[in-house]
């Protein structure tokens, strides 16, 4: 109906000129040509063949687990390789992966992993404890440029080895007792150690393959190419066409192959979120990586919407440069933090179900709930600002918010600019810089207030709090508190019980929030479109997908 109406209008509008008939005929001929192909979508084809079409954001930089960083890389690598433990797809609790079981010593420092008998590489080679030791040795070679080397630092002497303090790798706490037994000794009892094992920087890599294509610590050899890569995951790398697609196929040598239900996953690097949404609508994708903000409203109004919004382990916040004279007084920083109406921001601007944040660590991280008295309280904020010597904002210098060029960040900065003007009567300028320029300015401390985000690498408050130790690479605020450092670096790692540890983190976080070198704004959510045929793809706080569990069910 719609179709005929459209072509009628098209035709009548164009019929005035003879020339246009020719175009119409040419164009229609082109379309006829195109419609010779069956109008079958990726989704309907994939549901029959067991092929999952996955919108993967950008082209992965690398599939070497000890070089790669980033979410698209993580998705692909997690199909190709597997660590000692896997995680439950809902709760993220550790469950057996390459290790069928493990024991933890009473002092919490020694982990003994039993590698499964049927653990194999995708070429059929047996996978042994020694493979892990070698892989971790490689992960700690500085020449490799592994950005996630610090994930191994809980292991005894790993950091010393990485930094060259210890030159003998046998002093690092990873030992193969026999082919099936791996003993890992830690510096301190580290309750989140099992969490780390599911991170790709601790995945095993195949020594023979890597050495075939170059030396072990050489970056960018061809071992990760399709046809070369040998992994130990549920899938093997079948095809890698740059910027077009990555295809992984079920690995018959995988220890749990009988429970893997997908035959293939096709990762499509769709950079443009608007294009991605259109591809989803046209049935070319089962799952999108994200959704443009202005599409959230129409999708939430749909009955049986394919949109899924779930909490994500990440905090959107502002850094304050505490070396700027008028921002040195914690009262000023608190006043600024207290006069942001976060509820308004998440409801009116971001609109993606984000949760107003009143602390750095997202609440509920491993059972941790930060104690925070931060709230939206303009009156109290005005009082604090007056106490700091700026009654009714008088004499407060014009202050600048720096953000990386992005429409979403701009809107939030404008809203905050307005809120601070209204609530505190202070003048704020906003300044955008291109991403890399912004990174330079922020790390060099050439800013007053700057927008930032932090996505957790593992589910533990430590990951959100250890960034603010004195001169930490991710601190960038100039804030330094010896007592805080002591709690994070010395006291928390040494305690035995989980509850005790959480209390220490609470104390530390309260110190951080009292001084307020950072203003938490909201907790991220992940927003995706998911075709109803995709099953066993549960949401979790890391937004990790466990492809070995996923299956596709044909829809009527």
């Amino acid at each position: 109906m719609y179709k005929s109406l459209f072509s009628q209008t098209l035709n009548s509008a164009l019929s005035c000129s003879k020339m246009f008939f020719k175009y119409v005929i040419i164009i229609q001929a082109l379309f006829l040509l195109s419609s010779c192909g069956e109008n079958e979508t990726n989704v309907s084809k994939g549901n029959q063949s067991g092929t999952l079409y996955w919108g993967n954001g950008t082209e992965p930089q690398s599939l070497d687990p000890q070089i790669a960083t980033g979410v698209p890389e993580h998705h692909v690598i997690s199909t190709l390789m597997e660590g000692l433990v896997l995680k439950d797809r809902k709760t993220l609790q550790p469950r057996p992966g390459m290790a069928e079981s493990w024991e933890i010593s009473d002092d919490g420092r020694v982990y003994t992993f039993k590698i499964r008998n049927n653990a194999k590489w995708s070429n059929g080679d047996p996978l042994t404890a020694e493979d892990f030791v070698w892989s971790w040795w490689r992960a700690l070679q500085p020449a490799l440029g592994n950005l996630y080397a610090y994930m191994l630092f809980p292991i005894e002497n790993a950091q010393n080895y990485y930094e060259g303090v210890v030159s003998d790798f046998s002093q690092v706490g990873a030992r193969a007792l026999d082919d099936q037994t791996l003993e890992v000794t830690l510096n301190h009892p580290t309750p989140y150690f099992l969490q780390l094992l599911d991170h790709y920087s601790l995945f095993p890599v195949h020594k023979e393959t890597i050495e075939k294509f170059g030396s072990a610590d050489q970056r960018g050899t061809r071992w990760t190419y399709a046809g070369n890569l040998v992994g130990n995951g549920a899938f093997t790398l079948e095809e890698w066409e740059i910027n077009r697609k990555i295809v992984v196929k079920k690995n018959e040598n995988y220890w749990d192959a009988e429970n893997v239900r997908l035959n293939e996953v096709v990762f499509l690097p769709v950079e443009n979120v608007v294009t991605e949404e259109r591809m989803f609508r046209a049935g070319q994708l089962h799952v999108t990586a994200s959704l443009p903000a202005d599409k959230i409203a129409p999708y939430s109004e749909m009955s049986e919407s394919p949109m899924r919004i779930s909490p994500y382990l990440g905090t959107y916040f502002y850094r304050i440069n505490v070396d700027v004279p008028h921002l040195q007084d914690p009262k000023v920083r608190k006043a600024l933090a207290m006069s942001i109406d976060r509820k308004n921001i998440v409801e009116k601007i971001t609109k993606g179900g984000q949760i107003p944040a009143y602390a750095m660590t997202p609440p509920g991280t491993m059972g941790y709930y930060p104690k925070s008295d931060l709230r939206y309280d303009p009156e109290e904020a005005r009082k604090l600002l007056a106490e700091a010597g700026y009654p009714d904002g008088q004499g407060f210098p014009v202050t600048e918010i720096l953000y990386n060029t992005n429409e979403g960040h701009r809107k939030i900065a404008v809203a905050i600019q307005e809120m601070w003007k209204q609530n505190l009567n202070v003048d704020i300028q906003i300044l955008n810089q291109e991403w890399k320029v912004y990174l330079d300015s922020e790390s060099a401390g050439e800013y007053q207030i700057s927008r930032a985000g932090w996505i957790g690498d593992y589910v533990d408050p430590n990951n959100f709090l250890d960034m603010f130790i004195c001169n930490g690479g991710n601190n960038r605020t100039g804030w330094c508190n010896q007592e805080y450092d002591n709690l994070i670096l010395k006291v928390a790692p040494a305690v035995k019980s989980h509850e005790e540890r959480l209390e220490i983190f609470q104390t530390a976080e309260t110190m951080l929030l009292n001084d307020m070198p950072v203003i938490p704004i909201y907790t991220y959510t992940s927003i995706q479109l998911i075709d109803p045929s995709v099953k066993n793809f549960d949401s979790n706080i890391m937004n990790h997908a466990y492809y070995k569990d996923i299956y596709l069910e044909e829809q009527d």
């Binding site: 719609y2 459209f6 005035c16 000129s17 020339m19 246009f20 020719k22 175009y23 040419i26 379309f31 040509l33 195109s34 419609s35 010779c36 192909g37 109008n39 082209e59 930089q61 690398s62 070497d64 070089i67 960083t69 500085p142 020449a143 490799l144 440029g145 592994n146 950005l147 610090y150 990485y162 930094e163 970056r219 960018g220 990760t224 066409e241 740059i242 910027n243 077009r244 499509l268 769709v270 950079e271 443009n272 294009t275 259109r278 591809m279 609508r281 046209a282 070319q284 291109e434 991403w435 890399k436 320029v437 990174l439 330079d440 790390s443 985000g453 930490g472 690479g473 991710n474 960038r476």
Partner: protein, 310 residues
Amino acid sequence: MLKFLLSRIAQAIPVLLVVVTATFFIVHAAPGGPFSADKAVPPEVIEALEAQYKLDQPVWRQYISYLGDILSGDFGPSFKYPGRSVNELIMAGIPITAELAFYAMLVALGLGVLSGVGAAMRPNTLQDYAPMTLAMIGICMPSFLLGPLLVLVFGIELEMVPVSGWGDIPGDKILPSITLGTGYAAYIARLSRGGMLEILSQDFIRTARAKGLSESTVIIKHALKGGLIPVIAFLGPAFAGLLAGSFVVETIFQIPGIGRFYVQAAFNRDYTLILGMTIFLSTLIIIFNLISDLISIWLNPKLRDEISNG
């Protein structure tokens, strides 16, 4: 003729050298390096990486060694994609971008010449105004607007063609080619109208008509060759423009060509990739301009005489 060719090639060398030098120093002067990232990068890593890519040397030395590399045809390794060389990335993308540019050119020529010639045949009538108005709209309509519009109508509402991809689903090459070609079709329409109008008013056309030839013979056999010279002259730069300017269309339609790499390379400070792409595209532009000049000369007897008489 040979002299003309040689002198043009000789002119191209300093042009390329200026392009390489300017690009090299501009990208190295841009704030932010290839290895800076959101999460702090440990100094050990930065050091190891800079040593590996020779970024720890003085810039002039890097420049000299880069010139040496490109003379041997090696654009070096990409910084952003470890394991990929710039040559490899260009080679992976260029066939696709070239194919897209070729189809877009067909669309541009087909639509452009037809409507331009048609308009010139009946100047100042509806047959003239309608396509010329459309051409004006075509010139003004950016591809980031036209592309999504076409997708919404023909891809999503009418379900006639795929909304994205290149060579994956039958028919997925249609919309990108039309989107990219339309702007150029509009230029070509105006150029061919102008060229034809000029030719049609000349004496030899009047003679042809006086001989009693049919209008179509007059147009096809006599007028087209001269009337399309401006279009031919435009084709070289247009094809180069299509190759270099396909970024938007490649992004909208999810096409794995070189355009996306080029723009991303700048954001990533992927020095070697930016340089490689720039040199590659400048060379193409120079070659296409030369080819279209040669064709113009071949078509235009006046120019031919000028060149051969020195």
